[in-house]
């Protein structure tokens, strides 16, 4: 046996010594951090309890529906130092009440629906999550269907019937959205404020094939007036409407046509679309090939680039979890200081813009204002003939500026 030289033994020993001590030190460090790990699980439980507490402040749960307690911006306002004037949005919140129902399923609750719940659905007056099964915690309504693409129209029929049976008096408009649709509810109110819930009309991204007046894209979301919803339900009672096809949006469009509900034009005053069947990035940057179905489906002429989309856009589809928060950030948070937007959206008839000075004078009363405004779930008739009531009790009716 060949004896190793003393030199080589030394090097070998050096390596072994370093390695041994390294392993020893790591073990020691690991043991030190282990109790830390236990601390973090305790913190997690506390976080969850805090989450439940916070949720109680956001929504009033009534059965399977979530009633938004406060328009989210009032909650956020106390933490910002910038001068945000949400009076117009608050007016519209009270007068254009929207029930949002989200088409979803049990598998999507944690991966998709949850993010819609924490972002855009908070801006609806009422939100109901419609699934095949009941879930009292989320909460979701069980429609008694199966899951799958072929069930979409069944789900829609039952969801709208559910909304009509339970909440017909508590809302004026009834929106359907997917769990991967992002909706800017304030902009939806702006479009709808030009109409009344007694009109038989519905809005969305209008497609032209297969029908005379067109139909609304399912993924981009569509909204029915109360009268349209009534006619939808009546239509099924009288068998005018039936489950014709599982292509939900087309079937809805065919029923709407049969019961005399008008397919509305949801474009802004510059004829730019507000409901979008794809994500913002695609509408802004993608060059769809001319053979793509989109070109032949759109009822109105398509614009690519910046004119694709209104400043007052209402919806985008195929939005993933990160996308939900990104849209919320871009819509409600990120802005350019002092920027005067190019597009000044026309004020809906019957609403008035307050002058800067009167808002400034009323600024001191802002805190009082927040306490006076509470969700008004009862309604008065002939809304469009009334002057808008004063926002807080102190000032008289705001100086009306006809536009």
């Amino acid at each position: 046996m060949k004896t190793l030289g003393p030199r080589i033994s030394f090097y070998a020993g050096f390596v072994v010594g370093t390695f041994t001590l390294y392993v020893f030190l790591r073990q020691l460090w690991f043991e030190k951090t282990l109790p830390m790990h236990q601390v973090t699980t305790l913190a997690r439980i506390q976080d969850y309890q805090q989450q439940l507490e916070e949720e109680k402040k956001m929504w009033k749960k009534e059965g399977s529906a979530l009633f938004n307690l406060e328009h989210p911006h009032h909650i956020a306002q106390s933490t910002t130092i910038t001068c945000e004037d949400s009076r117009m949005a608050d007016e519209l919140y009270k007068k254009v009440r929207i029930l949002c129902w989200v088409m979803t399923g049990p598998k999507n609750l944690e991966t998709k629906t949850r993010h819609a719940k924490y972002t855009w659905s908070r801006h609806c007056n009422i939100v109901v999550f419609m699934s095949s099964v009941d879930d009292p915690d989320f909460p979701t309504v069980g429609l008694g269907t199966k899951e799958g693409r072929d069930q979409l129209y069944w789900k829609t029929i039952r969801a709208y019937h559910y909304a009509y049976e339970h909440y017909a008096d508590e809302a004026d408009w009834f929106l359907k959205a997917d769990d991967d649709t992002y909706v800017i509810v304030d902009n939806l109110r702006w479009i709808l404020a030009n109409h009344t819930p007694e009109e038989p009309i519905y809005f969305g991204r209008r497609f032209k094939p297969y029908t005379k007046q067109g139909y609304m894209s399912g993924g981009a979301g569509y909204v029915l007036s109360k009268e349209a919803l009534r006619r939808f339900v009546e239509g099924f009672k009288s068998k005018q409407c039936t489950h014709t096809t599982s292509v939900e949006d087309l079937a809805m469009g065919q029923c709407m046509e049969k019961v005399g509900v008008l397919a509305g034009d949801s474009r802004d005053s510059f004829h730019r679309e507000t409901f979008h069947p794809f994500v913002l990035e695609q509408h802004l940057t993608a060059k769809f090939p001319k053979s793509f179905w989109y070109w032949s489906y759109c009822y109105y002429p398509i614009s690519e680039g910046p004119n694709c989309c209104s400043d007052m856009s209402i919806s985008f589809h195929y939005v993933d979890a990160v996308g939900m928060y990104l849209m919320e950030y871009y819509t409600y948070h990120l802005r350019a200081f002092g920027y005067r937007y190019r597009y000044q959206p026309p004020t809906p008839p019957g609403y008035s813009i307050n002058k800067f000075e009167s808002w400034d004078a009323g600024k001191k009363d802002k805190k009082l204002e927040q306490k006076l405004v509470h969700p008004d779930l009862s309604r008065t008739d002939k809304r469009q003939n009334e002057d808008p009531p004063p926002v807080d009790g102190k000032d008289g009716p705001a100086a009306a500026e006809g536009k």
Partner: protein
Amino acid sequence: MLSDGCSFMKGMLLGGVFCLVLSFLGSFNFSSESSTEDHHHHHIYAPSKDELKRLSDSRVEELKNQVRVYCIIMVQPKTLVYWATVLDTWSKHCDNAVFYTSEGSKALEAVDLNEKDDWARLRKALIHAYENAGDLRWFFVAQPTTFAIIENLKYLILAKDPNEPFYLGNAVKSGELEYVEYSSGIVLSYEALKRLMTMFKDEGQCPERTHTLWKMGEDKQLALCLKYAGVFAENGEDRHGKGLFNKQNVVNMIKQSMQDNPTDVVEGCCPDMAVTYGGMSPNQMHVMMFGVYRLRPYGHDFHDWLTFYPPKDSDND
């Protein structure tokens, strides 16, 4: 055989000691960095509502004039797509946007510095900007992967005097040196730039070319030269302590926030009046352009004390 065993043991002992020393040094470095990391730099905030309220209308107009920005955008032909995107998006909101390139490109116009060395190129760009400033008093240096909201930059520096030395952005520490990180944008006041010009003449303290093997990033080089001129890095943040200059792109920041604050993702993530996001892809920049200058919820108005108008000949804002 015995001598081998002895040698082995000696080796083991020495190896153990070596490992201990190394780990001790390592932990020492780590702790020293974390302890000095916090709050040796100054914080810069935008003016408060009350501060602005006290100003007269004429003073506000004066400030609006004073706060105009000269944008220095450092491009290269190899990143042409980013260059074109910046040209088409946020740079339109600079009072003067000048592109400085390492070498000329037939596709787009720029000041050709004809310089491959990063630090030398930055120096040349800063000198050119100083000489061509006109009556602009604030300078913003950006890379083409950065998206900047110039109005929010103006809001931050609104009540600051450009005749004072300001060097702002995302301030970070490397050893003893505090510097403004490059990819989140660098803001310099006229006085800071002026002192830098004087420093450039000092080849000893602020050499044009480093001849060492190991190169310091040009943002650190800049910090060093400014330091010798008595100008120190300051961190731009909002009243909640959130950084306004971000090295990461907005999508990554949201992803991180989804992990850290799952019930409060947006509020816990990014500031309302953010100035920059780094590492943005061209598509992300187009989306941010729309998100900042177009998309908004109807009925929420801001009565800011200044008005900035949209740029001429532009269709995406």
